[in-house]
Amino acid sequence: MTTGVAVDLENVWITFGDFVAVREANVHINGGDFFSFLGPSGCGKTTILRAVSGFLDPSQGNILIGGNNMAGIGPNKRPTALIFQNLALFPLMKIWENISFSMEVAGASAAERRKRADELLDMIALDGQGDKLPSELSGGQKQRVAIARALCANPDVLLLDEPLSALDLKLRQHMRTELREIQQRVGITFIYITHDQGEALTMSDNVAVMKAGIIDQIDTGHTIYDSPSTPFVASFVGENNVFRGKIKEIKGEQALVSTNRSGDLLARITPTQLGKMNVGDDAMMFIRPEALALGKADAASHTTITANVVNEEFEGNVFSVFLEGGGGKSIKMATPNLGQAKISTTGKDLSLHYDANNAVVMPTGELASE
């Protein structure tokens, strides 16, 4: 199998008139990586994808695929294949013709094309369905045909533009695994665009989180989840409780935050901000709902928050508990369902305990809007 080809974005700016869609993007994507751009809709991630595939040119900066500058090279000459959000299967062509379209335009004979299409149909477990029309397939099958069609072009880089967004939940989860499997099998570079953090985290080797044209953080999914570098990343990826306040004291990698409504709380300084934060700085502290647990009442502890239950939702695997802390501060806690009684029955003025390593603190910034 081919080893993937690296993709580099060097200081890429993309503007439409006065609107800056992508601002100073510097990304290095390793060959053979499954790389995701994660961000809310309208953050410029699709623009980046279109620039990589050649449908639009960056206003500034370079895009390199395998070290070659792609400036001035059209989409049909680039070693990329794009899987569209709506899949864009050719409705009037049979499945096998769809899959082998890239060979047809290159002038391959019908027999050759059919043979290759059948191989790919085998790979995506749709053998024997080659003579159907796209309209006769189910959503998940179309999805796989779109992937096969892109792979048939033997691209060095496969670009995927939210290809799973149209599928229902079960199918989406299934396709996630399948996509990852296909990527590992063919070994080429995948660039994946999504607004669904679940997709990004489960499939990707590396994730870039984007906000309004700016790439906030590039790292592995795990690092992004545990050590977000900006409040936006912290609030966009997964759920988080945010506490605003000021730094009161710095002890090595940890900082004591004097929060506005919940007293002094201890948290880990996020790695990118280590050594850059000073006592008295405005700060934001984030604690994941699942990092909170009921603990002993201990007002003196810097890792305990006192709150009352407002509402409780049973979600099957977890209880989501909505609490109200001091000054009306709303807090969310998630507890795994282990057959215990409801949290709300345990009384008032609950003490929520957390491990200081599971809370991160960073300078104030913009949050992801709900």
Binding site: S53, G54, N76, T80, A81, N86, L92, F101, V105, A153
Partner: protein
């Protein structure tokens, strides 16, 4: 319950009136094609005849007209379909801000009267020829003054806009992502156009082509100016109507109606047959075996109608070979002569009475109608000098007397059977 019944009756009556209005003229005209009377008429019915088809067949002006109409129609289809397709594609690609202006501009020819288009086409190419310095007799000059060339251009000027409307409707449902997908998979722009957009547009191209051909075929306003020395079917027919028509035109109309019905039935039958096969393929219905009708006609009234109509036409053509209405014609002529003689006799008697009562008025050499309007009215033809008399052309002597073009209306003898006509 009562009001429901009333609504039903009203609806039925409305539909009856509506369809009579729509189809009545066609039915009447089709019937005139089989009446031996020489002016298209149903009543009085003379003889059932196929002779007008023969007249039509032998009418070289109409045959040439059809020939040039078809040539021009094909040319117009080729030109206006390609222009319309190009225009509609530009409309989808053009800068959004000028899109509505562009649309107005490109739709304008539909709103311009055909007469204006015709004259301006004629003038424009003549001026262009002069401007290019094409001398009389050169190839460019003769091209720019060629009726077929000019008519194709003149008609395409507005038919292309019709085609564009058809294409725009289809293009609105085209996903531009498909073209991008093709490009992304390595297709050139030409390949993407040919392999993706064109197949998608194929149904629209077919309907635009039919539309363009029909619009061209029936066009008169523009054609009459641009056709110059040639003739199309419409200009021939117009000329004929002006100079006095005979039922051969009805027979042509009947043929066209038949062809239209055939076309519609075949289209419908094929579509239904396809749908039926699809259903069988999907296993939704079983293939019925046995029965009186062959499989392709089952549940397919269009196919049944087609077969029935074909049968009727074959029988008709067969009958036409054998059928000879000459005896009937002779009978009709005899009857007419008798009727005319009776009328003459009556007239003479009247005149005699009048002569006696009014001695000042002398006998008129042009016969009765001038002095006796009520007598003319009596024969039902007064106002138009008998030109619409169904009988006046069926008399085989009339055309031979060299007055054909105006139906013998100015022939002083044609009302006076007693005068020597030859």
């Amino acid at each position: 319950m009562k009001s429901l019944n009333f609504a039903r009756i009203a609806l039925g009556a409305y539909l009856l009136i509506f369809f009579s209005y729509l189809l009545g003229p066609l039915v009447v005209m089709s019937m005139t094609a089989f009446n031996s009377a020489s002016f298209p008429s149903v009543s009085p019915w003379a003889c059932f005849t196929f002779e007008w088809y023969e007249v039509l067949w032998n009418d070289t002006a109409i045959r040439d007209g059809i020939y040039y109409s078809v040539i021009i129609g094909l040319g117009t289809v080729a030109l206006s379909v390609s222009m319309g397709l190009a225009a509609s594609i530009v409309l989808t690609q053009v800068w959004p801000r000028i899109r509505s202006t562009y649309y107005t501009l490109i739709i304008a020819p539909i709103l311009v009267p055909g007469v204006v288009l015709g004259i301006s086409t004629l003038v424009f190419w003549d001026r262009l020829g002069t401007f290019l310095g094409a001398s009389d007799g050169s190839a460019v000059y003769s091209l720019f003054h060629n009726g077929i060339f000019l008519t194709i251009l003149g008609q395409s000027a507005f038919i292309a806009s019709y085609c564009m409307l058809v294409f725009v409707a289809r293009l609105q449902r085209f996903d531009p992502g498909l073209t991008e997908a093709a490009l992304d998979l390595g297709a050139t722009h030409t390949q993407a156009f040919r392999k993706i957009l064109l197949p998608f547009m194929r149904p629209a191209i077919a309907s635009a082509a039919v539309l363009a051909f029909l619009a061209s075929f029936e066009n008169y306003n523009t054609t009459t100016f641009t056709i110059v020395k040639y003739k199309t079917l419409t200009t021939v027919l117009a000329q004929k109507v002006r100079l006095g028509i005979n039922p051969s035109i009805s027979s042509l109309a009947f043929i066209i109606i038949l062809l239209t019905i055939f076309g519609a039935l075949v289209f419908e039958a094929v579509a239904r047959n396809k749908a039926r096969k699809e259903q069988i393929k999907l296993g939704r219905t079983e293939e019925k075996k046995g029965g009186i009708l062959p499989a392709f006609m089952q549940g397919n009234p269009a196919a049944f109608g087609f077969v029935l109509l074909s049968f009727i036409v074959i029988v008709m053509v067969g009958t036409a070979q054998k059928y000879d209405p000459s005896q009937c014609k002779i009978d009709v002529r005899e009857a007419k002569k008798a009727e005319a003689a009776a009328r003459m006799k009556e007239l003479r008697e009247q005149r005699l009475i009048q002569d006696q009562s009014d001695a000042r008025q002398g006998p008129d050499i042009f016969g009765a109608p001038k002095t006796e309007p009520e007598a003319g009215q009596g024969s039902g033809t007064g106002a138009f000098g008998n030109v619409f008399d169904p009988g006046n052309l069926s008399d085989e002597k009339a055309p031979k007397s060299g007055t054909g073009a105006f139906g013998g209306v100015f022939d002083p003898t044609n009302l006076d059977e007693t005068a020597p006509s030859e």
